[in-house]
Homo-oligomer: 341 residues x 2
């Protein structure tokens, strides 16, 4: 697919404008733009600017409410529920995170469930926002079925991400933002277009049998592959239990599919879950900071295998961000056209 | 290795007696026995009764304090720290879990860090104890280096487990108790004795190169294998950040090795981390219970691949427990001899 390089500020401006043109209010447009720019800058292109076309479509269709009035209900000294009013998931998620941080400052930890939300993009930006407030952050969501169970012949879980972040003095946060599938769906599509064999144990055919043929692959296998996929499937379940079961929102198989559905007018009632943990209430902020320093120094001192490179979670993504801030962001031609580049 | 079948009650009695004979006080002896019996009953034999020999050795050596006075310090409306006084980790962990549950009843979520603890056996029993109190439970710990980083040529993390549990009305809890390595160390040892090839991407030689030869394997690879091990390594890091960095205890590479160390007199200052989340403070206990029911019904209705079986986390273990309660627990000959069977 042809790509063009666009300037960072210009991309952010056009994303914002595209949302505002759909009637999205300022706070929501800013939240969605921030989340998309996070992904586009860090190299997570599947969850970056390219989603704008989809969001505009579902805003127009009525699935997503452009004028959402997000509300928050405190349910305990350390817990709250946020109702997204069927608006853009990024707004709901950033609001929930702000509440989680506020609660954690008071109580040491804050746990916030979100209901009546929608696709929040990548989960990383929300864990990151908590780390930027000096705390350990966790964010998760469930989504529609595309990943198999261990030994399962049909897709069951979504790619259900788990994102964790932690502050590091003097550098960018430690940041793990991972799908609980073995491989991202986009990687399968890429290998299909490249006519390249998939790694072993990451995808399965329509009957659930592992396949290395990207043209035959119809579902993703859970993290852990053919032999240990029960772990990835279990972790996908953790995302569902926290995001959907705990909040009373939609289970993975019950979702109206995000894409490839004729129904773009019915809200999907997606749930999310966020945690903020304040190090000040455990060993203390200074001991925590020294521990993160020691942990990362030890980790980065581990020798690499030939041709490899040892990195902490986020190291690769922060390097991509530096490079893209300098050189611009690659945009596929469809998205570029949609944004009038 | 020759095995004998022993009666459940008799095994529990002898484990308790062995600990008491080392001067361990009643509460600690009961906690350790409970945790070991959990693992032995559920088929997690690596973390079951066989550990008694090791615990007795380190109790005698002075590494572990048989008369530990565990103390708890409430640090916020939703947080606490528990000091294990260098006693048996199972006592520290069960105490921490009791505190987490109490806090969660008050505040909606309870987060407890543990310091000056020691090996807690499997992490599952502690998440399970929280589920048995009607809440979602999470338990984690870090341990000494045996698992590689993605692209790393030396072991870095421990097998750092993540355990989650959730209550299910009318049946045993949903229970995920997983190491963040691709494969358990014991599996490698088993394949070595069977002269059987390992699966691809689960273990590496002394230089970090993936190997399928169990005789050559010197370290475990993180969950996700050769291509996606950055996920497992990141999750192992989550365990370390919560258990050690947040609590100010020992980082994985700094531990005195659990086994194969001449030093059995110095405490290891191991940390753990526990969360209890009360569904009553989110969508409510009834909606949560209905959601768990719907989730499990949907999951178990997924067709299996040929020769496979679709199960929820814990299904296999609870079935093993039923069978072992009936037939007895298989014990290796060394442990059987140690316990005078």
């Amino acid at each position: 697919m042809a790509e063009i390089l666009v300037k960072v500020d210009e991309l952010a401006k056009r994303l914002l404008a595209a949302l505002v043109a759909e009637g999205v209010h300022d706070e929501a447009a800013a939240a969605t733009t921030k989340a998309l720019m996070h992904a586009s800058l860090l190299g997570i292109d599947s969850h970056g600017a390219r989603l704008i076309t989809h969001y505009c479509k579902v805003l127009r269709g009525g699935r997503v409410n452009p004028r959402a009035a997000v509300s928050c209900h405190r349910t305990g000294p350390a817990t709250a529920m946020v109702d997204g009013d069927n608006g853009l998931g990024h707004l709901t998620a950033y609001r929930a995170v702000a509440v989680a941080i506020e609660i954690a400052r008071e109580s040491g930890i804050g746990a916030v469930g979100a209901t009546r939300s929608s696709h929040l993009g990548a989960a990383g930006p929300y864990a990151l926002a908590i780390a930027e407030a000096g705390m350990i952050g966790f964010a998760t969501t469930n989504t529609d079925s595309i990943v198999g169970l261990f030994d399962g012949a049909e897709p069951f879980h979504g790619t259900n991400p788990l994102a964790f972040a932690a502050p590091v003095t003097g550098e960018k946060p430690w940041l793990l933002d991972m799908a609980t599938s073995s491989i991202p769906l986009n990687r399968v599509l890429l290998y299909r277009s490249l006519d390249k064999e998939l790694p072993e144990g990451v995808a399965a055919d329509a009957a659930g049998a592992p396949t290395r043929d990207p043209d035959v692959a119809q579902m993703l296998l859970p993290l852990g592959g053919a032999g240990f996929g029960f772990k990835g499937a279990g972790l996908a379940g953790v995302a569902t239990l926290l995001s959907a079961v705990l909040t009373g929102t939609t289970l993975d198989p019950d979702f109206i599919p995000m894409v490839n559905s004729d129904d773009i007018s019915t809200p999907r009632n997606m749930g999310h879950f966020f945690l903020a943990i304040d190090p000040a209430r455990f060993a203390g902020a200074n001991i925590f900071a020294a521990g993160m320093r020691a942990y990362l120094d030890q980790l980065r001192a581990v020798p690499a295998i030939d041709g490899g490179k040892v990195m902490a979670p986020g190291d690769r993504e922060w390097a991509v961000k530096q490079q893209r801030l300098r050189d611009g962001i690659p945009l596929d031609s469809d998205t570029a056209a949609f944004l009038n580049f």
